[in-house]
């Protein structure tokens, strides 16, 4: 399967003692400068030459020689050697092939195998030995290993210490994004009066790829919220500006939406009773008028009942049918953030750190024991129940959570993904993340643990992406984006260049960046803080061609034209064809969505007073839930309507692309669902081209060759019509595509045939556990 190329001549110096490797010696030293590629504001902190990057665990045959640098943004390994055995590399424009952003580093282990010592390096620590080896455990499940056998011992040590220091900053303003943006402001100040140029500034974000000119609403402005109210057709709701300048709350956005019947003055008074002054925030309205609202707990016990009643009344008043409010106490229903974190740690341990073969036998039960899938399921299930309340019972739903900025983000988002097809488009999904995560004050800084204060870390955002993936897996034609998009989005949370995932709240961005601007003499003018690049500006990370991998070829867009007897109709009409299929039967009952509440560990932080709803009412609501789901699942699905997850044990799956993409042993060469994706892309591309030709033919046959024919939504393109059947699977496709596990030192060699990979080579690489820890 793999073409075993002879080992390449390596880069080495004649000044150094001969290495103890099985490399062939290249007597001609290459005298060539290896220069890092740096971003604006990026500086090299330390570097070391003659470093060997290990590619395989049982042979040094494929190792690469080069220079290891530590900058204030990344660690970078610069080499002239091409990556061996790699057939495809999905390139991020901000990073070299061997680079790791500092914010992606989880743990740094230095080893001296002569002295049999190892040390996990924290910031500002001393290292008593000269490291012969550096192992970087990355947050994205990769493991990178460098050897310093031929490097200057002191420089090697210095680089290790620099990496440890710079990857674990003590202050937010030390994150690279500040330096980068500062530089941009300075540069642009020299050119145009203080306004940062181009994409670095506004951060509105282009669409993911090919030709989309839409911008993602960021919900930083009044008008974005106003537009969302109009888009959903919500009546009885208004944009509220009382938090302008963050006068009320530092963890709320400046603009948010509240019931029209609540006056600013009332809100100001009520706000004092809520944890974090986080009063009710409107998320979304159903076309039937039911609204989704999120809020923190009411802290003031004496006021609680009164305020609660006022809020509920106001929400009821905003409902065209004056329907009741259904409250969901997420703290009592769902696992808490510590539990989610614990599950994630176990999952990671299982997927990455445990020896592949040893975990095979007990894989299924080990996976179950991580509880990760159980939690994904719990969030999906609860969200589906709330969909029922909004959609079928016509009730407005209030999500309650202590602070209202963790579980609420996830549940509010999932409910909207299920209910509103707009959020299943790329722009819609991004606007949803802006609305329910970034603006709603999800604490990305703490939860992603960019500053390495681990006690607040929790992968709720990943859990949301995972749950979205489950829906995508179950309804592949309902989403505009692909699973690659979801994986890349997850990776982007660990590149400290974008403002999107860097802060605990919008206010924190303003406050910190204003301080930073003052300290750096940057003139902000009228701007509220520095404008960081937005992650939605995907062109910063990927070429237009690579961004097309974000597009899901299965997607049935509303706008996809379909021709019927000469007139163009929306594809929706032909969906009859699609929907005439039997879509399976109720997945409710025991195996489906509705069984008794999961016996999840409860969060015991706050005890709530009984809900205002009489208990019988709740029961009657729940008893109708089962038939609702049963009926929904018995009908053909409308991909532009509600989609509900199937949540039985057989339906919730491990998101392999995300969690196993760096594991060489798990990679299926020339296989995986991507091979079907590839075929479908070719066909979808052909249909696109034909439809464009058709449009042009119809308008003017002479212009048939004119226009946007060259653009394609698809990464894989048909070279001509009718050739989709003859083209084979491209050699570089694998179940990890577009990622490649080559060079990830999970445990063992990626060399040889898949079989020898599977059976032999059980040699575990120099295990750090066998070494004595220095401390």
């Amino acid at each position: 399967m793999f073409s075993l190329k002879p080992p390449r001549p390596t880069f080495r110096s004649y000044l150094l003692p001969p290495p103890q490797t099985d490399d062939k010696i290249n007597s001609e030293p290459k005298i060539k400068k290896l220069e890092p590629v740096l971003l604006p504001g990026e500086i090299v902190v330390n570097e070391v030459n003659f470093v060997r990057k290990c590619i395989a665990t049982d042979t040094s045959q494929y190792d690469l020689w080069g220079k290891l640098i530590c900058s204030n943004f990344k660690i970078s390994f610069i080499t002239d050697d091409p990556m061996p055995l790699q057939k495809f590399h999905y390139r991020n424009l901000l990073l070299g092939e061997h680079d790791v952003p500092l914010t992606c580093i989880e743990q740094i282990v230095t080893v001296n195998d002569h002295k049999r010592k190892q040390k996990v390096l924290g910031p500002n620590q001393k290292l008593k030995f000269n490291p012969t080896e550096l192992i970087i455990y990355c947050k994205d499940f990769r493991i990178v290993r460098f050897r310093f056998d031929e490097s200057g011992p002191e420089s090697a040590k210095k680089v290790c210490l620099a990496i440890a220091h710079y990857s674990q900053p003590t202050d937010l303003q030390l994150l690279f994004a500040f330096e980068y943006v500062g530089k941009k402001y300075h540069n642009s100040a020299n050119k145009i009066n203080g306004i940062p140029s181009g994409d670095g500034g506004g951060g509105g974000g282009n669409g993911a790829g090919g030709g989309s000119s839409q911008k993602t609403p960021l919900f930083e402005t009044y008008s974005d919220w106003d537009r969302e109210i109009k888009r959903t057709g919500a009546s009885g709701w208004r944009v509220c500006s009382i938090n302008e300048g963050y006068m009320i709350s530092t963890c709320l956005p400046e603009y948010f939406v509240v019931p029209s019947s609540l006056a600013d003055q009332d809100l100001k008074i009520f706000s004092h009773s809520f944890v974090g002054r986080r009063m009710p925030l409107w998320c979304w309205s159903h076309s039937n008028g039911s609204a989704l609202v999120r809020m923190a707990l009411i802290r003031d016990a004496r006021q609680q009942r009164k305020i609660d009643q006022r809020i509920c009344n106001a929400i009821t008043k905003s409902h065209p049918q004056r329907s009741d409010v259904y409250k969901s106490d997420l703290d009592k229903t769902l696992p808490n953030i510590q539990e989610v974190q614990a599950a994630f740690v176990k999952l990671k341990q299982l997927c990455v750190n445990e020896p592949f073969e040893e975990t095979e036998e007990k894989w299924l039960s080990s996976l179950e024991n991580t509880r990760w899938l159980e939690y994904v399921r719990a969030f999906l299930k609860h969200s589906a129940e709330l969909v029922y309340m909004l959609e079928s019972k016509h009730l407005s739903v209030v999500l309650q959570e202590e602070e209202g900025r963790d579980l609420s983000c996830c549940v509010a988002s999932l409910v909207q993904v299920m209910l509103d097809p707009y959020f299943r488009t790329i722009i819609g999904f991004q606007s949803l993340i802006q609305k329910e995560w970034v603006m709603a004050g999800y604490q990305f800084l703490d939860r992603c643990n960019h500053l390495k204060r681990s006690e607040k870390e929790s992968p709720l955002f990943l859990l949301f992406l995972d749950a979205t993936w489950q829906l995508l897996e179950q309804y592949p034609a309902a989403f505009e984006f692909s699973e690659t998009y979801l994986a890349v989005l997850y990776d982007s949370t660990r590149i400290s260049l974008f403002g999107t995932f860097l802060f605990n709240s919008p206010h924190q961005r303003v406050k910190q960046s204003t301080e930073f601007a003052i300290s750096k003499n940057i003139q902000l003018g009228d701007e509220k803080g520095l404008k960081f690049p937005s992650v939605w500006d995907w062109s910063l990370q990927f070429t237009a061609k690579d961004r097309t991998l974000f597009h899901n070829p299965f997607y049935i867009g509303k706008s996809t034209p379909c021709v019927h007897n000469g007139s163009v109709k929306s594809f929706k009409r032909t969906k009859k064809n699609y929907s005439s299929t039997l879509r399976g039967m109720p997945s409710a009952l025991k195996n489906g969505i509705i069984s008794d509440q999961e016996l999840l560990p409860r969060r015991n932080s706050l005890i709530l007073k009984p809900k205002p709803d009489p208990p019988q009412q709740t029961n009657s609501q729940n008893s109708d839930m089962e038939p609702y789901f049963r009926e929904w699942f018995s009908k053909p699905v409308n991909l532009h309507g509600v989609i509900l997850p199937r949540v039985s044990g057989t339906h919730i799956k491990l998101w392999k692309l995300c969690y196993l993409r760096w594991v060489p042993e798990a990679q299926i060469s020339l296989g995986g669902s991507v091979t079907a994706f590839h075929k479908l892309s070719l066909l979808a591309d052909e249909v696109d081209v034909l439809s464009r030709m058709l449009r042009q033919q119809r308008s003017d046959p002479l212009e048939a060759c004119h226009g946007e024919l060259g653009q394609s939504r698809m990464y894989f393109r048909a070279s001509g019509p009718h050739d989709t059947d003859t083209s084979g699977t491209p050699e570089f496709l694998s179940s990890s595509f577009p990622f490649s596990p080559v060079g990830n030192l999970c445990r063992r060699s990626i060399l040889g045939t898949p079989l020898s990979k599977f059976l032999s080579g059980a040699k575990i690489w120099l295990s750090t556990e066998t070494l004595a820890n220095e401390d």
């Binding site: 299924l364 592949p476 039985s648 196993l660 299926i668 060259g710 699977t729």
Partner: protein, 522 residues
């Protein structure tokens, strides 16, 4: 399960039979009962019953027993019960009956499935005979080995007398015969039963020589690789009953590996446990650990791992391979058939797979979901094969070996399952299939990728049922239709336009010609 109610309709069976006899082709739809029947299917009795459906509770209905199956028809027609009755249509249990329905089946198809497999043709496709391998008719009357087919491929250098002597040293006389030959490196997969070594460690010069002859047909590697499908403990234990395995002392030029695959009894127990966790209710809160405790996927993994080893040895290791277990008909068939499926893309087509099934006998538990474009057939194809493995509607899977089938004149007296499938091939085609020549598939035999075949094992549970048809396949078919529609429209438009513009300078005449032209623009 079912409780009988009134019995006054019991005696109607004969009448009904005469009514049915009158109708002809296809599936009969009797007006009075509306029980679909196959040609040759006759009603034996019927009864009013209450069927306790494990998913939907009790359903009043009438049970019909024919010489082929037990058929339950719901009497309740209310809307609430429509779902249930729809589902009940699936519940057709084949009834054990003598003579087997396959011999009474009068179905007619426009293709004859019995002609699908012609051993001579199949060996010719593989390039056999050649100067190392010959076709022998020594077993023409099944006197060498009654459980082997009449036609065998053996080393050119082994005489028929050699074969007879080797047969005495192999369990049930199942001597090593060729299953598959690699088109390029000419290494082979040979299958047989265990050698009759016994407690005393008997040796047989002829057998040793025969294996050496097999080895010598391949000059690339100096060893013959033997895969004993059994766990080594079992292989040793078999010595007590006269069996055993090839020892190092006796077979110098062979390397023996045990593949640790358990026997059919262990597997059957495992499958029973799978049934327990999926029927009638699917284990909910601890699905994964329950599934693990059945060990079913572990068996699948071991078989798959063994097959990968065989395929890899032949393809990358360039060594000929001999596979056996105890008798060489269960695990051996699993291994050789799977290895051949990985090695030879021909077997991944519908006809190729039918030939493989016919040739090697196959128990298929895991679909190759890892390679969605590599197989011409779809899931339905595998399911229908498994269904008719037990249905007795076709002669394909009746009896244990070719000699018995011949005695019973199966090809003359019964219909082949392949007739049914091949006369309706479109239904069983995988739209993503991409024909590839000589591509070896290397599945990853890891629990990380193995999943229970939910669409087969849990298909009766309405709550678990996956979307059918598969939404991905469905979408592909839609796009294919859309493409054809566009092409048609384009052609029409171009015709119309060329009529309008009397002399368009660049207007191509068909979209297929136009496309490359358009593309060169960019």
């Amino acid at each position: 399960m079912a409780s009988a109610s009134t019995s006054k309709y019991n005696s109607h069976s004969l009448e009904n039979e005469s009514i049915k006899r009158s109708s002809r082709d296809g599936v009969n739809q009797d007006l009075t009962e509306a029980v679909p029947r196959l040609p040759g299917e006759t009603l034996i009795t019927d009864k009013e019953v209450i069927y306790i459906c494990p998913f939907n509770g009790p359903i009043k209905g009438r049970v019909y027993i024919t010489n082929y199956r037990l058929y339950l028809r719901s009497l309740e027609t209310s809307e609430a019960n429509q779902l249930a009755s729809q589902f009940l249509n699936y519940h057709r249990f084949p009834v054990a009956h003598r003579p087997l329905f396959a011999f009474l089946n009068e179905e007619k198809f426009n293709v004859d499935g019995w002609t699908v497999y012609n051993p001579v043709e199949e060996y010719r496709r593989q390039g056999l005979p050649n100067h190392h391998w010959r076709i022998t008719f020594i077993n023409k009357c099944y006197e060498l080995c009654d459980t082997y087919p009449a036609l065998l491929v053996v080393p050119y250098r082994a005489s028929d007398d050699d074969l007879r002597r080797v047969a005495t040293f192999r369990s049930r006389n199942r001597i090593p015969v060729l299953s598959w030959i690699h088109p390029e490196n000419k290494t082979v997969i040979v299958r047989c039963s265990q050698p009759l070594v016994g407690m005393s460690g008997k040796r047989n010069k002829d057998d040793e020589k025969y294996l050496d002859v097999i080895r010598e047909t391949n000059k690339q590697i100096s060893k013959l690789t033997i895969y004993d499908a059994r766990p080594s403990v079992n292989a040793v234990a078999n010595k007590a009953t006269g069996g055993g395995y090839e020892s190092d002392d006796a077979y110098h030029n062979a390397e023996l590996f045990f593949l640790d695959i358990h026997n059919i009894h262990v597997m059957r127990e495992s499958l029973k446990k799978v049934k327990d966790i999926v029927y009638p209710n699917v284990e909910e809160s601890h699905w994964l650990s329950s599934l693990e405790s059945t060990h079913w996927l572990e068996h699948i993994k071991l078989v798959l791992t063994g097959a990968i080893q065989v395929a890899d040895k032949v393809s990358s290791g360039k060594s000929s391979v001999l596979v056996h277990c105890s008798d060489g008909w269960d695990r051996t068939a699993q291994l050789t058939a799977l290895a051949m499926l990985m090695l030879d893309s021909f077997y991944r087509s519908i006809e190729g797979f039918e030939i493989l099934v016919q040739k090697e006998w196959i128990s298929f538990g895991h679909k190759f979901a890892s390679f969605p474009t590599a197989f011409e057939f779809n899931e339905q194809f595998l399911i229908i094969i498994l269904d008719h493995l037990y249905s007795c509607r076709f002669g394909t899977f009746l009896f244990n070996c070719e000699s018995a089938r011949e005695r019973q004149k199966v090809t003359e007296r019964t219909v082949s399952l392949w007739s049914l499938i091949n006369s309706n091939k479109e239904k069983f085609k995988n739209p993503f299939y991409t024909k590839e020549i000589n591509r070896v598939l290397y599945p990853v035999a890891s629990m990380r990728h193995l999943e229970l075949w939910v669409n087969y094992y849990i298909r009766w549970n309405p709550r678990i049922k996956q979307q059918q048809p598969n939404p991905v396949e469905q979408r592909y078919m839609e796009l294919l239709a859309l493409r054809d529609e566009y092409i048609k429209r384009l052609e029409e438009l171009q015709l119309a336009n060329s009529a309008k513009l009397s002399d368009p300078p660049t207007s191509p005449s068909s979209p297929s010609q136009m496309m490359p032209h358009v593309q060169t623009h960019f």
